[in-house]
């Protein structure tokens, strides 16, 4: 039998259907892989007891003919989703030991469809970061290495770094993520897997630890687009508990992978070709355009003139919403508490001890831009430019159906690089943030390896509620790129065996 951890999610579900193996068997195979690769630090908490209990129940359901969409498939859950009775930390000391008494809507839907949870995946603290180096539970290490024998540990990207590393390293079949400025698409690109962020409002935010509420959106990782689309379908759907949840039918996203791009109009935004763009990234982008053309798509030039303002808008709106959302961590109702001489001092000491530096920095920026006298100059101004960014996209979609760009301006960097200068770190998200500001669906698919042997991804951006078209285009890229590279870590393991 093939290695159960090498199966795609779709093939695993098929194998379970045909009773080629049980959920308990495939779950155990993944738990073993997780144990073998603990040095990646992809999981904050492994939940073998929960997983095996769910797997046993799943096998019973299947035996009685009641199988859900993901019946018996072991997955990972980003530790930003509240899970009943299982520690949920957002990778922050302030939530260390917090065990929710309730289930997030998204994880509830996944379990309702038969998914098995292997554990809670590491991330940047409160999902604030692009390298998974701000977690209170330590850095996540990418399963990929450069081919220059330097052996430097690379970042898996962030904030959903644990999710991307675990899926890439075959520690789970698929995983949930969240994306506020690129936190699914950038780590997917860095780890050579597929990641999709749906339209804002597609997945309920209820029970997901909030960072920036008008930008946060859950999404899915898989080793191919079909898997990510399958997971996304289960995660999606209306939820009355989230006031921004959309009451819209959920399509069979995975069916779109094979849809083809004949006659599709694909937009190329010239603003995504900044001076000094890495020639390898530029070539990758041109390849992607040519692949779509070869499958019958029509290429059109579009313009998104406010692209360069995406990052400054993001770095006002996201911290503003963060400072407001994170005001709830006061040491009274849950989480860490450090006693002071009075209530004010208790708040100040608790928050000083509980939050890491990057979170504090963003709370400070947010508090400043929302403070008296600055609100109009910063926050309202940013919201106005945000509308111009959205209008750019709406204008472009009069001429095209889908937009293709690189996912990131570079391949994965080494842990510790870019850390002194927050602006440089923020530039990682230059191709992804505007999509969150406009609330649009976006995905990243692996398309090539660079000279250093590291994965590069292409991003597809769609109209609101039109995930299916970006999945169709992503499917065409997958077919043409035929990306079969596996992480260095697994190559080494194969050589040893």
């Amino acid at each position: 039998m093939t290695n159960l951890t090498d199966l795609s999610l779709a093939d695993a579900v098929k194998g379970l259907e045909k009773k080629e193996f049980s959920s308990v068997e495939i779950t155990k195979a993944h738990l073993k892989a997780m144990e073998e690769h603990r040095h990646l630090n992809a999981f904050i908490v492994e939940t073998p007891d929960v997983a095996l209990k769910q797997a046993v129940e799943s096998d019973k359901r299947r035996a009685s003919g009641k199988a859900g969409l993901l019946e018996g498939a072991p997955i990972g859950v980003k530790d930003l989703f509240c899970t009943t009775g299982v520690q949920t930390t957002a990778a922050s000391n302030i939530l260390r030991g917090f065990k929710p008494e309730y289930e997030s809507t998204v994880t509830g839907k996944l379990f309702g469809d038969g998914a098995v949870m292997l554990g809670k995946l590491n991330l940047d603290e409160f999902a604030m970061g692009s390298s998974n180096t701000t977690s209170a539970f330590g850095n996540v290490i990418s399963p990929w290495k450069r081919n220059d024998a330097s052996n430097a540990d690379l970042t898996p990207g962030g904030s959903s770094g644990g999710s991307a590393a675990a899926v890439s390293a075959r520690l789970c079949l698929a995983a949930t993520g969240t994306d506020t400025g690129g936190s699914i698409r950038q780590p997917a690109a860095f780890c050579g897997i597929a990641g999709i962020k749906p339209t804002y409002g597609r997945c309920s935010r209820w029970g997901i630890v909030a960072f920036a509420s008008s930008l946060d959106q859950a999404g899915a990782f898989g080793r191919n687009l079909e898997d990510a689309s399958m997971l996304l379908r289960s995660m999606s759907g209306f939820d009355p508990k989230d006031s921004t949840s959309a009451d819209k039918p959920v399509p069979d996203f995975a069916a779109a992978v094979k849809g083809g791009v004949k006659g599709l109009k694909v937009g190329i935004p010239k603003e995504y070709r900044p001076d000094g763009l890495d020639p390898e990234i530029e070539k990758l982008w041109d390849d992607g355009i040519n692949w779509l053309k070869a499958e019958g798509a029509e290429i059109v030039n579009v313009t998104l003139p406010h692209t360069k303002y995406g990052l400054p808008v993001y770095y006002i709106i996201a911290p503003a919403e963060c400072s407001s959302n994170l005001a709830r961590y006061d040491g009274v109702r849950y989480g860490l508490r450090v006693d002071g001489k009075d209530l004010s001092e208790t708040y100040e000491k608790t928050r000083a001890a509980g939050f890491g530096d990057e979170v504090k920095r963003r709370i400070m920026v947010g508090t400043y831009v929302l403070s008296a006298g600055y609100y109009d100059a910063y926050y309202i101004k940013a919201q106005k430019v945000r509308r111009l960014i959205l209008n750019d996209f709406l204008e472009a979609y009069k001429k095209c159906d889908v937009i293709i760009t690189p996912s990131t301006p570079s391949a994965a960097f080494a842990i510790g690089e870019n850390e002194d200068d927050p602006i440089k770190m923020y530039l990682n998200d230059i191709f992804t943030v505007t999509i969150n500001l406009a609330g649009l669906p976006g995905l990243s698919v692996p398309a090539a390896l660079n000279k250093q042997g590291l994965p590069l991804g292409l991003q597809l951006i769609g109209r609101p509620w039109d995930e299916e078209t970006i999945i169709r285009a992503g499917g065409a890229i997958e077919r043409a790129a035929n990306f079969t590279a596996i992480p260095s870590l697994l190559n080494l393991k194969k050589k040893a065996a």
Binding site: P240, A327, R337, S344, M364, Y368, Y378, K384, V385
Partner: protein
């Protein structure tokens, strides 16, 4: 940005910081605020601020009790709770 402003913001944000931390944050905040200044060059006359990207009207529901009776669950993660209440340091003398 001067240290006094940074100190005021830290107080507003309820974050205890010593002088060394304030100084470190000051430099980084200054950089970020300088970076966002470029928004000033965008003409936003007659542009409405965008707060919600998706065209979803906030829904109304009947004003009725749909939840409750879960005191133990609400207190389950409290750092300190007594007799069904959250416990905080003395607020009123």
């Amino acid at each position: 940005m001067d240290l006094k402003t940074v100190k005021k913001v830290a107080t507003l944000a309820r974050l205890e910081m010593n002088d060394k931390e304030l100084e470190a944050v000051r430099a980084k905040l200054g950089n970020i605020m300088k970076f966002v200044e470029q928004l000033g060059e965008v003409n936003t006359d007659k542009v409405e601020p965008l707060a919600n990207v998706v065209d979803i009207k906030l829904r109304l529901r009947e004003d009725e009790v749909t939840d409750g009776g879960i005191q133990a669950k609400i207190l389950a993660n409290a750092p300190e709770a007594t007799a069904g209440f959250f416990v905080v340091p003395k607020v009123v003398e």
